[in-house]
């Protein structure tokens, strides 16, 4: 059983190892598929390829903004879906879950059709705004699910107790509910950020000419992906792993105090 698990883990991490390994490659020509020799060139000049810096920058900005908006909207929705009973709750629930069950291509295609249907040619310009809208859209559902999971773990007793002691709804929220669900909100934000940075299909449909980092990779894939892409990919991976590590350790520390 454990041998199998070990094999499975190796299988899962193998591509990651290859990515990191090949970021140290020095390929002859554009294609980075065969190991030639060890080199730190790409690491020393990660933005040497034209277009890569702006693509990474765009990805980061969009990820940051869409995470912000989606986390706020999603947290509010999670609160509404867990802490209250009302008509239409089931419907709202379904609407939140539906995007997660829809293939990305359908979501991207439908957004594109929306943009195209607004007015006459040359139609709604595909650019930063259109990408941002799309990213917020698919992130909302994931934020709701993550925050909701955290909320469900704290049935309303604590809030009721606070209100019995004289706090009004506003104070109860900020002093009791919010600190309790903060780990959930942070987890949701991290999830939304990583989903946004990595998104390709939906972005591809709604971006037009502007390029995010995944779109840059896709465009380069036909002629040969430069080594710098592997470098940046490795950096993103390491940063993500570190963030998760830090948040977990911090979470454990605060749980102890």
């Amino acid at each position: 059983m454990f041998a199998y698990t070990g094999l499975a883990i190796i299988y899962l991490l193998l591509p990651v190892a290859i990515i990191i390994l090949f970021s140290f490659n020095k390929p002859t020509g554009r294609r980075n598929f065969v190991w030639q020799q060890f080199s730190l060139d790409a690491w020393l000049h990660p933005f040497a390829v034209p277009g890569i810096a702006s693509a990474v920058e765009l990805s980061l900005v969009i990820a940051f903004l869409s995470t912000l908006v989606a986390t706020v909207l999603g947290t509010l929705m999670a609160l509404a879906l867990v802490r209250y009973q009302y008509r239409g709750k089931g419907l709202a629930n379904s609407l939140v879950f539906l995007p997660m069950a829809t293939p990305e291509i359908v979501m991207g295609a439908s957004l594109l059709t929306l943009y195209v249907s607004i007015g006459q040619p040359p139609f709604f310009p595909l650019s930063f705004t259109t990408i941002l809208i799309a990213h917020v859209l698919f992130n909302i559902s994931y934020v709701v699910v993550t925050v909701r999971a955290r909320l469900v773990g704290f049935p309303g007793h604590l809030e009721e107790a606070a209100m019995d002691l004289g706090a009004n709804q506003w104070q109860t929220f900020w002093r009791v509910t919010f600190p309790l669900i903060l780990p959930g909100i942070i987890a949701a934000a991290l999830l939304a950020f990583s989903l946004s940075i990595d998104d390709f299909v939906i972005t591809n449909f709604t971006a037009g000419r502007t390029q995010t980092f995944p779109m840059f990779i896709y465009a380069q894939a036909k002629v040969g992906v430069p080594v710098q892409v592997y470098v940046i990919g490795s950096i993103i991976f390491l940063v993500a792993v570190l963030s998760v590590g830090i948040t977990t350790i911090a979470g454990r520390r605060s749980a102890q105090t």
Binding site: F2, A80, T102, P103, I105, L137, F200
Partner: protein, 337 residues
């Protein structure tokens, strides 16, 4: 503000829901309606489109030339879903039931690959599965494999890519379902039915192996007889040794909601995927996703592309409904009988 909130508690949830719900309605629900409408357009991208019901022919014109791709999307996704299930279930089982303190670490390792770019992961497989690459190069040099053996640019590579990319989607729901199981039930079952499920395990393992081999051979064009026989034998051995009666009667049924969720979370995105087919396949392995992407972004043939998207969505809904009916939704969504 606060006194108002307390008096009007009735509308508080609606206020909280409003911004997010509005976003979802405007940018998700309504566009889907638009896609439906767009499938009845005629005209062109430069000059504008007009709507007309008589354009239902768009559907026929769009789908007829791409029936092979549609079939491929379903077949590859089905194969990938089955493969992810076979790989994920034992993994999720080990982590949930034998994981102990290492559970979180193991789960993290399962999810960790997702911290790299989806495109880079797929390209990475291109390196690993390369004709003379890390894996096959040495094997060919020794002579185990014939010189012209290749995996890249074949359906096998595409399915392997899809399987890999969606593995966590299958593993996590199964893990969650298994973790919730009260182990005392399993202990009680062990007391009642001791040990391996002798005859049953043999038959079940053989059957699963046979069916799997049949499906995969049909898709990849392997020689059914040889592969089928081998799979039946391997399946029988695995079934006899590893599957206990308590597993079949208690654990597996209780984990079904997780299996259901996992299969859907794997199959649905896989059916629409086109990156795996593009990076790891060849022009003959193109899936419906490739076609839709092409129609929208390259040909800018919005009416036909919308028709295809709608067919894809409709197909998924039908498959999900049938699947849910087969497994029984009440149990699956609530986990209770």
């Amino acid at each position: 503000m606060t006194a108002w909130l307390r008096r009007r508690r009735g509308i508080a949830p609606y206020l909280l829901l409003a911004p997010g719900l509005l976003w979802l309605l405007v940018f998700f629900a309504y566009p889907l309606v638009e896609v439906f409408l767009a499938s009845f357009w005629s005209g062109s991208f430069e000059r504008g489109y007009t709507f007309s019901l008589s354009n239902w022919t768009n559907y026929r014109d769009a789908i007829t030339p791409v029936l092979p791709q549609l079939g491929r999307s379903i077949a590859y996704s089905l194969a990938a879903t089955i493969l992810t299930f076979l790989i994920s279930y034992p993994l999720a089982y080990t982590i949930a039931i034998r994981g102990g303190r290492a559970k979180n670490l193991l789960l993290f390792l399962v999810v960790a690959p997702f911290f790299t770019s989806f495109l880079l992961r797929t390209l990475s497989w291109k390196i690993i599965l390369g004709d003379d690459g890390v894996f096959f190069g040495p094997l060919k040099a020794i002579g185990i494999l014939p010189g012209d053996f290749r995996v890249l640019a074949t359906p096998m590579a595409v399915v392997a890519g899809i399987t890999y990319n969606f593995l966590p989607f299958m593993t996590l729901p199964i893990y969650v379902a298994l973790e919730k199981i009260d182990l005392r039930l399993v202990e009680a079952a062990r007391d009642l039915y001791a040990g391996p499920w002798k005859r049953g395990g043999l038959v079940a393992g053989a059957a699963v192996g046979g069916i799997l081999a049949g499906i995969l051979s049909a898709i990849f064009g392997w020689p059914v007889g040889v592969v089928g026989a081998a799979a039946v034998v391997v399946g029988a051995v695995v079934g006899r040794l590893f599957i206990s009666e308590s597993f079949v009667r208690v654990t597996f049924p209780l984990s079904l909601p997780g299996v259901f969720a996992g299969s859907l979370l794997t199959f649905i995105p896989a059916v629409g995927d086109y990156v795996n087919a593009e990076f790891l396949g060849n022009p003959d392995t193109r899936m419906l996703g490739n076609v839709i992407q092409n129609r929208f972004l390259v040909q800018q043939n919005y009416p036909q592309a919308s028709a295809l998207s709608f067919i894809l969505m409709g197909g998924i809904l039908v498959i999900v409904a049938v699947y849910a009916r087969v497994l029984g939704t009440e149990e699956l969504t609530t986990g209770r009988r």
